[in-house]
Symmetry: C2
Subunit: 375 residues, 2 copies
């Protein structure tokens, strides 16, 4: 199918870029001693993308139990659900494990560990658990300076669950702006995770897994000794936030929204399109970076960016395009009906607004890959 046959807005996925991004991460992990990859599929939520990056069976990481069910049904049998477990989800976790899926879960507190152990005992199904570590103070997790808490959680798990190891996500890396900063955060992520695993081992727990995450740290790490797996995921598509952090070129962004010009406010230098925040999402992740990309960077239908043309405002189904503040770039002449592509701030958020990808190969729509949103 031609791109011109698609109704707009539509979510485009450039297959060649996706494959190049996968190869780039593979090379990086090989250079770090061949550490295992457990790609995070919260961005892609697609069986086809999962097969490209993780082969037929995994290992993979997910952010919802719906993902675990869908990927599990498609043959992925080694799955980490990487969000601290809520008690109301344990029944579904056990049901997934009984279907033969090696689903592991995460927690960072004794109360949850007790709930998991009790559910595992009751079901006769010891659930494997990674204890979450907070390596950079940005969200959940046991701090590395809380070894007593770490061991208390492991003890609470031991009768009914399995202490599989340690996981951390250096989300603070999203605020990094320089390569040395990224290298430092990556080292801190590794050091914290490995130290906590050693604390567990010294207390008598095998803790075989040391799992770290985040695209910026995975691409910036200079050594991963002691780490057993890397969970990066957004690198599959990349986005303007990753570009702003300095880990992706614009040309590596595989995801875009196809849209159509529906009008102009010529005296204001505005071009109106039929993609608003319902298509782009409300994510403004570049707002605090050195280059604010508005709701996205505008490209022609073939994917070539216009200089400094961004989506400056979005309502539900309208986007307003204009030259960014401070730029003297000329406004391109884009008549009514012109098709454009918008590169997103945040691939996870933009992709979540759509039910499927239009997969572009050699400038044509070669396939339509479904996504699974919701929980």
């Amino acid at each position: 199918m031609q791109l011109t046959e698609l109704e707009t807005p539509a979510l485009l996925l450039d297959r060649a870029k996706l494959e190049r991004n996968i190869a780039r991460m593979r090379t990086q992990l090989t250079s770090l001693g061949g550490v295992s990859h457990r790609p995070h599929l919260k961005t892609a939520k697609s069986i086809e993308v999962a097969r490209l990056v993780a082969g037929a069976g995994g290992p993979i990481t997910v952010s919802t139990l719906l993902e675990a069910e869908r990927f599990g049904a498609a043959g992925f049998s080694d799955i980490l659900y990487a969000v601290g477990i809520a008690p109301n989800k344990l029944e579904r976790v056990i049901a997934l494990r009984r279907r033969g899926i090696d689903l592991s879960i995460v927690t960072d507190n004794v109360e949850a560990a007790e709930a998991v152990a009790a559910a595992g005992r009751e079901a006769g199904e010891p659930i494997p658990v990674l204890i979450e570590i907070d390596s950079d103070g940005h969200r959940a997790g046991v701090r590395p300076d809380q070894p007593e808490l770490l061991v208390a959680i492991a003890r609470a798990l031991s009768d009914g669950a399995q202490v599989r190891g340690i996981m951390t996500h250096a989300g603070g890396s999203y605020d990094a702006r320089t390569r040395p900063e990224l290298v430092r955060i990556a080292a801190q992520e590794r050091d914290s995770a490995v130290a906590c695993a050693e604390t567990l081992r010294a207390a008598g727990f095998a803790a075989p897994v040391v799992s770290i995450g985040s695209t910026p740290t995975a691409l910036s790490a200079t050594g991963l000794d002691g780490v057993t797996e890397v969970r990066a995921g957004v690198y599959l598509f990349f986005d303007l936030v990753m570009h702003g952090i300095g880990v992706a070129a614009i040309d590596e962004i595989a995801l875009s929204v196809l849209t159509t010009v529906i009008g102009h406010q010529r005296d204001k230098g505005w071009i109106l399109v039929d993609a608003g925040w319902m298509a782009m999402s409300r994510d403004r992740g570049t707002a605090n970076q050195s280059l604010d990309q508005g709701y996205g960077l505008v490209c022609d239908a073939a994917g070539n960016p216009f200089t400094d043309l961004i989506m400056i405002a979005a309502s539900q189904e309208h986007g307003i395009l204009a030259i960014r503040d401070g730029s003297s770039a000329p406004l391109p002449d884009l008549p009514y009906g012109t098709r454009l592509r918008i590169l997103p701030n945040h691939a996870c958020a933009t992709a979540a607004q759509f039910g499927e990808y239009q997969v572009v190969e050699d400038g044509q729509v070669a396939a339509c890959w479904p996504r699974f949103n919701g929980w």
Copy 2:
């Protein structure tokens, strides 16, 4: 079903509040001389909600052709698609009209008018069009001081389409903060629309419809002489942005996200929950209001707000709750596993993150109403 049987996150819709909000708008429009209501269903995207507010057949307003198709199939036969038309959508518009749905569309430029007229001529199906007016400079539309453009668009439509009238959306009302300001914007919306309709009539076009929109202006208008219909929609659910504008009480917000406590960072005063931006959306519509509500205001499971407890940060599937900056309110004791409700900034954006509503009546889940997302 009990609320405690729901897995989290889940989208709750309080039916009693929804019905009270519908009654409030009905009373308001009656007090304004009984102007017709064409509710905007871009927020609800639900057949059941549409039937409560618009009876069996409409009239209704939609933001996507998917909504037009779904509502059309459910018996709603008078539908306005209120986004400037893109040429690639005309075929689908004609197909809908041929199914007996009186679907009207919108544009604000001569090029689009020519495309619509040509498509209508070719199909032998004259498409009814409202010409969009820009009453407050915030987005699309012909300015009231451009009567020549207005008439040129009407002329371009006349051979192949029908000039049904004028529409405007006073989106600038979302920036209003006081009642007198809202009254002024509502009057300006009315005056602009009516003046433009008179321009068309003076040029020989019947232009029977004068359609205005926006919840803040509909609830603030003191007179709507010359207006034939009002398209408000977000008032069905209301949200924190509408509360910040001053047109809704917290107790009128019918939509919330049910979530569960999954952990704490006690030294920071943080409570972690299993609803992040994937559930709340990335909408930060209150960020520029006098009271920034973060990603939402936290209530207990019955819907009673805690003082100053908001979602201060959100990642994909994690929310961080804390007392808002500057408040001395105590952090409530909310142990692991506690269920909470989060009131959203923007009902349209939060609802769009879910595939269905869990409809709450008398504290129980009485029904599950599907939504239709996408295009």
